[in-house]
């Protein structure tokens, strides 16, 4: 296993400790429940926006805690939803008279743990609401699904809600923002390699040297099909079509375009992908007013990428443009 890790069982806590050390004064760390939270939250004038899902997707979600984005996150182990009690403690810690908004990626484990925690928090009289993010178009057709998976599109929901909360929006208003962003965002990813959870020590799936998984999930869940590796442009063409046709996106739409790295793919390749994606967007008559190229929602060290399109309106565009200061910085 080619990883920087000490005791695999301590991988997540040690990562969180690193985040806390890198953000002293700004962020605090509650080791008992894996909670990273803003030192200046909760605030009686702001709804608290929180998140918590499996680890291994960094910077999503724990590294996006900070002014203008999340107020707290309580990640579970690598690829495992946080235990109910972590969720409950995170809600309690961020309890604000204006309320608490929980952003949940659409996975059964995440939903069940948060649902239980929310029931208990409400029993304690806390004003808490949740919203489910499901932007992945890859598995939309699996009839019996509990719905689409939540992937890199969650960045936009977190960013928009974080900005609105910072401006004092109410819990109801935030739910409307989350709803609007989620309704207008679509994603799909491709994996070139597998990835290895530290505790498992082995790749979570096998894939041939000349193969790729089209529509892969961020936990390595199978997507639409296994296929032979193709040139970068052909790969972008397939996922761009799948994503853009889904909403559908139409000529004249103002959009945000994201090329998200899955962890093991370097910036150079992501910009090769962005080149084609931007060309395709232009071809479709889309007006790309904001773009995002980098690691936003990873699958550990998986080599791969996903493409996300978000249809903008004035409100969302304005919220995305708002400043935010989070754990992951280039400066």
């Amino acid at each position: 296993m080619k990883k920087f890790v000490n005791d695999p069982a301590k991988f997540v806590p040690e990562m969180l400790e690193g985040i806390a050390l890198a953000n002293e004064g700004r962020l605090k760390y509650e080791p008992r429940y894996n909670i990273i939270y803003r030192a200046d939250r909760p605030s009686k004038d702001h709804v608290s926006v929180i998140q918590g899902s499996g680890s291994g997707h960094e910077p999503a979600h724990v590294m996006t805690v900070g002014p203008g984005m999340l107020d707290a996150a309580s990640p579970g182990n690598v690829f495992a939803a946080p235990p109910m009690e972590y969720c409950l403690e995170c809600i309690k810690l961020m309890n604000s008279p204006k309320g608490v908004l929980v952003l949940i990626n659409n996975y059964q484990g995440d939903r069940m743990n948060w649902d239980m925690a929310i029931e208990m928090a409400e029993a304690e009289g806390i004003n808490v609401k949740s919203f489910i993010i499901d932007d992945d178009v890859a598995v939309q057709n699996s009839s019996y699904t509990i719905g689409r998976r939540g992937v890199a599109g969650n960045f936009f929901v977190m960013k928009a809600c974080g900005a609105a909360a910072e401006r004092g929006a109410s819990l109801e208003q935030l739910l409307d923002v989350a709803k609007k962003v989620n309704a207008n965002v679509r994603s799909m990813g491709v994996a070139l390699t597998s990835c290895t959870p530290p505790a498992k020590g082995k790749p979570i799936f096998e894939i041939g040297d000349d193969e790729m998984e089209v529509g892969v999930g961020i936990h390595g869940e199978p997507g639409r099909r296994r296929d032979k590796l193709k040139p970068a442009d052909a790969i972008v063409d397939e996922i761009f079509d799948a994503v853009s046709k889904d909403l559908p996106f139409k000529s004249g739409d103002r959009v945000a375009l994201m090329i998200n790295g899955l962890g093991g793919t370097p910036p150079s390749e992501l910009y090769v992908l962005y080149r084609r994606a931007a060309q395709r967007a232009k071809g479709l008559g889309l007006n790309v007013v904001r773009n995002y190229v980098g690691n936003y929602c990873t699958s550990l060290e998986m080599a791969g990428a996903s493409l996300t399109l978000l249809k903008l309106d004035k409100e969302i565009e304005d919220l995305l443009a708002a400043p935010a200061e989070i754990a992951v910085r280039v400066f």
């Binding site: 182990n77 690829f79 495992a80 235990p83 109910m84 069940m112 743990n113 498992k200 869940e221």
Partner: protein
Amino acid sequence: MTEITLADVEAAVKTIAATALKNEQYFCELDSYAGDADFGVSLASGFRAVEQDWQALDRSSIGAFLLKISLIISKNVGGCSGPIWGTAFMRAGALSKDRTSITLEDLDKMLTAAIEGIQKRGGAQLGDKTLLDALIPIRDIVHDSAGKPGADARDVLKRATAAANEAIERTKNLVAKRGRQQFVGDRSIGTPDPGIVAIATMMNDLCAQFGVAKPAPNEN
């Protein structure tokens, strides 16, 4: 005998805890075929905590004891297993709050409450290839003998274990419809569901614990 004492319940929990720890790697292995390979770790992390707190556990009643188990699981187990197993123990405990012994009728009600709780929490039905496909047949066997004169808990255990073993084979070729597995769709066909195997393994270990001869394959 038809009475199940607090001591029996303690012994039962201790047994399934041991099952979870013994099979940590194996259960992960099962979850890796169609899932995300964390089932063994999740379950073990919960029951390891149970073993650690073992001495300090509230033993004032069966219900108090089971509720404590539920809390420990909710505190330590993530993924789907935390809510599912936590809910099950909570519902069962709620019905045995201040009891130090229960009958098969009580056990029937407790299992039913647990099953309903799991269904409310995760929305799975019989045949969705989840541990419910083992739990429901177990409950049905308890239900049949509940209240029957001369019904014997040890005999019930034996037949329930056979039913759980059977569930593995019966569901093997179904498509998983819940948890991470669901995303695999057809790729889950042919692989047994980890949760069902876990329940069956625990039942077999309970037979050993209570000196009941393991049922031969397909005995019922």
